[in-house]
């Protein structure tokens, strides 16, 4: 077997147009070794995907949340959807939109008139987002709502929950409005993005055109102060005009939606 000379390291320097990186967060000017992405970029991608996957399988830190949320001086209720496991949750969105029997019974026992708003904290596709961002957001939003004479119902912590679960919760608690703060589908750039969806006149069976959405709530996206201000304004408008969804969207461009085209 012939002796090989010492091998030269493969050149995988960034591309000469790397300065274009200042114009976009897209993964451009990665460089290459052969036809492959250089290892440093391959691992950076893998790490971002790992964070996203971990977020999908993250769980609500109930003990910590219950403790922290006490300062808001609102009753706390824990509920669960009909999806028993994360695997079932991912494959059966219909079950994630419905309350489990015992949770339904529990909420029926707490029905009371006169509530303007019930806030639901739902794990969705990233409990990490709820664990991280809900308290700082509500610290700003709840006092503002109280000042505007909003009658607030209990805070509802919901596991294996989709957005539409809030409609059943709001209906059972007889709230005029329901606000669902939910972990959004993690992207590679943000595994902890919080979404806020609200419905006026919540009841089971409503679809996306009935609700509005403020998304990407996190310090690097829409910050807490901006998000709280926007939500306060929209919730006040929704209460005043007694509507949500497409008709509110026409004025503010905030319909809940999401598809490739």
């Amino acid at each position: 077997m012939p002796d090989l000379p010492e091998l030269a390291a493969a050149n995988s320097a960034p591309d000469p147009w790397a300065s274009l990186n200042s114009f976009t967060a897209a993964r451009i000017a990665l460089g290459r070794s052969g036809t492959s992405v250089p290892l440093r970029e391959a691992l950076a991608f893998k790490l971002a995907h790992a964070h996203a996957r971990d977020a999908v399988y993250s769980v609500l830190d109930n003990a910590q949340l219950m403790n922290e949320l006490l300062e808001l001086q609102l009753p706390l209720v824990q509920v669960h959807s009909r999806a028993a496991t994360r695997q079932e949750y991912l494959q059966r969105p219909d079950l994630g939109r419905q309350l489990a029997e015992d949770s339904r019974a529990q909420l029926m026992g707490q029905a009371a008139g006169g509530r303007d708003l019930v806030v639901v904290l739902a794990d969705g596709l990233s409990a990490t987002a709820v664990n991280s961002h809900v308290l700082p957001l509500l610290r700003l939003l709840v006092p503002a709502l109280r000042q505007a004479s909003f009658q607030l119902g209990p805070l509802v912590l919901a596991e294996q929950a989709r957005v539409a679960l809030g409609d059943e919760v709001g209906h059972l608690l007889q709230a005029r409005l329901v606000l669902v703060l939910i972990g959004e589908r993690p992207g590679l750039s943000a595994p902890d993005s919080l979404g806020a969806y609200f419905t006026h006149g919540p009841q089971p069976g409503l679809t996306d055109e009935a609700r509005n959405c403020v998304s990407n709530i996190r310090p690097e996206g829409l910050g807490y102060e901006a998000a709280a201000a926007k939500l306060f304004f929209l919730l006040a408008e929704a209460r005043r005009r007694q509507l949500s969804g497409v008709r509110l969207k026409d004025d503010f461009g905030l319909l809940a939606e999401g598809s490739k085209s």
Binding site: D15, P16, W17, L20, N21, F23, T24, A25, A26, R27, I28, A29, L30, R32, G34, T35, S36, V37, E41, F45, K46, A48, H49, A52, R53, A55, V56, L90, Q91, R92, P93, D94, L125, R185, P186, G187, L188, S189, S259, K260, S261
Partner: protein
């Protein structure tokens, strides 16, 4: 009429052709979600046995979605070519399967039969094929389309350059565009998914794309992927529209949920054709499809998602598209749960589209809540390359920062072309060589050689 099959002491009965098809469909999350999937592994195979014995003629008389209720069914039945069907008319689904995998089924014969096949026949036979057969048969079919270049020739693989940006920032998009071109991407189309539906912004995006295309004399086409009604509006305003894009589905009700009808597609097709911007050909439509879209709109009529998908191809082929791609892993794990289901569905979509005569591409992709990763996409990418897929996507680093999902990177296309000896569209390959991006054999040159770097597009100049 009902169908049955007996295994041992157990007789499985299927009330009609629809029940038979849904039970025979390979397992996937969306059919379970819809409550139509076979209850057991045995029931699924029993349905496949029974399906194999169904005469192809039955699909012409037993419609799965009523003719009176659904314009897609009417399109399928009214445009069916009895002459092209005649050579197959005596086959059962099983006999079609055995013939398709035989050496007699060469590319020319398959192309001649396309107009005689309905999407339901094609969906049915796909359920009797393994992945290797979906690949082997599709590979024989060459579907060539043209606008400013020639796409789909055997031995070629094209890419759609997808330079999306979350706020439609012109410079951000231009930066990804230049990056992609320097990696040899963009022969299928330079195509942006916009974040907004604001016509003014879309018009600016189209002008920027068209400006870059003209500045570097790139033999390709451009597209901003918005709703057809918006495209009609853009045409009315004199924006440089090469292609009309639209997401389509396989039932009238699902299309209604997309805000479209066949007459609207016809209007967009005619308006885009009338612009006469193609130089080599007149294929001006670009369609996207995906298994699960009909169920997601609650418009599946009890059909399995793969048969619904094949029906969308009947819609597509009526308008002689330049490009059709399934966005297979985009719709989420409630329809295709994991890498195995995504791979199977992509091979089915590619096969069914090709057999029906479509220029099929695939968005090899997944979302972060699906049980899939880059290794699954590498597998699928390679399988589709072998199957002769017309085009894939080109996204910087495989990470679409606007749509929040992972597709194929510019590097992925370089890999596939290298290992399988595939070339870009010939006109585009010549341009890449002339620009100093690729050498004559199709290998990428050191980046400093590229002409394009000497003068960047106006959007990127200081």
């Amino acid at each position: 009429m009902s169908y049955r099959h007996t295994i041992g002491v157990r007789t499985y009965q299927f009330a009609d052709l629809k029940a038979l098809l849904v039970r025979a469909s390979p397992l996937r999350a969306g059919d379970v979600l819809a409550g139509v999937a076979a209850a057991t592994y045995e029931e699924r195979v029993a349905a496949q046995y029974a399906l194999a014995d169904v005469p192809l003629r039955n699909f012409l008389s037993e419609t799965l979605v009523p003719y009176e209720q659904d314009e897609v069914t009417r399109l399928i039945i009214d445009t069916h070519d009895a002459g092209a069907f005649a050579p197959l008319a005596h086959f059962t689904v099983g006999e079609l399967r055995d013939w398709l995998v035989s050496d007699a089924a060469d590319g020319l014969t398959l192309a001649a039969l396309a107009a005689g096949l309905t999407p339901e026949m094609v969906a049915a036979v796909s359920k009797l094929l393994r992945n290797q057969e979906l690949i082997a048969v599709a590979r024989r079919i060459e579907v060539v389309t043209r606008f400013r270049n020639t796409l789909g020739l055997r031995g070629h693989l094209a890419t759609r350059l997808q330079p999306n940006h979350p706020t439609d920032d012109l410079r951000g998009i231009a930066a990804s565009l230049v990056d992609g071109l320097l990696y040899g991407s963009g022969d299928a189309v330079l195509g942006i998914n916009p974040a907004t539906d604001n016509v003014r912004v879309l018009s600016d995006l189209l002008r920027m794309l068209d400006g870059v295309r003209q500045q570097y004399e790139i033999p390709t086409q451009t597209c901003v992927l918005c709703h057809v009604t918006t495209t009609l509006d853009l045409i009315g305003r004199g924006a440089p529209v090469d292609l009309a894009f639209q997401s389509i589905a396989g039932t009238e009700a699902a299309n209604r949920s997309f805000g479209i009808s066949l007459s609207l597609l016809q209007e967009a097709w005619e308006a885009t054709l009338a612009l006469g911007r193609g130089t080599l050909g007149h294929n001006v439509m670009y369609f996207e499809t995906g298994q699960g879209s009909a169920l997601s709109a609650n418009a599946h009529h009890g059909l399995d998602q793969q048969t619904c998908e094949a029906r969308a191809y009947a819609v597509a082929r009526h308008y002689r598209p330049l490009l059709v791609n399934s966005v297979v892993g985009f719709i989420g794990p409630e329809y295709l749960y994991d890498g195995k289901q995504i791979i199977r569905a992509a091979l089915e979509d590619h096969f069914c589209g090709k057999l029906l005569g479509l220029p099929m591409g695939v968005d090899v992709c997944y979302t972060n809540h699906a049980e899939a990763d880059q290794d699954d996409m590498d597998n699928l990418l390679t399988l589709l390359g072998v199957a002769g897929c017309n085009f894939i996507m080109g996204v910087p680093g495989a990470d679409d920062i606007m749509l929040g999902y992972q597709s194929t990177s510019f590097h992925d296309a370089l890999y596939l072309r290298r290992v399988l000896g595939l070339r870009p569209a010939p006109e585009f390959a010549a341009w890449l060589a002339q620009q100093g991006i690729f050498d004559e054999s199709g290998r990428q040159l050191p980046a400093t050689a590229a002409q394009l770097l000497k003068q960047l597009p106006p959007a990127l100049r200081p």
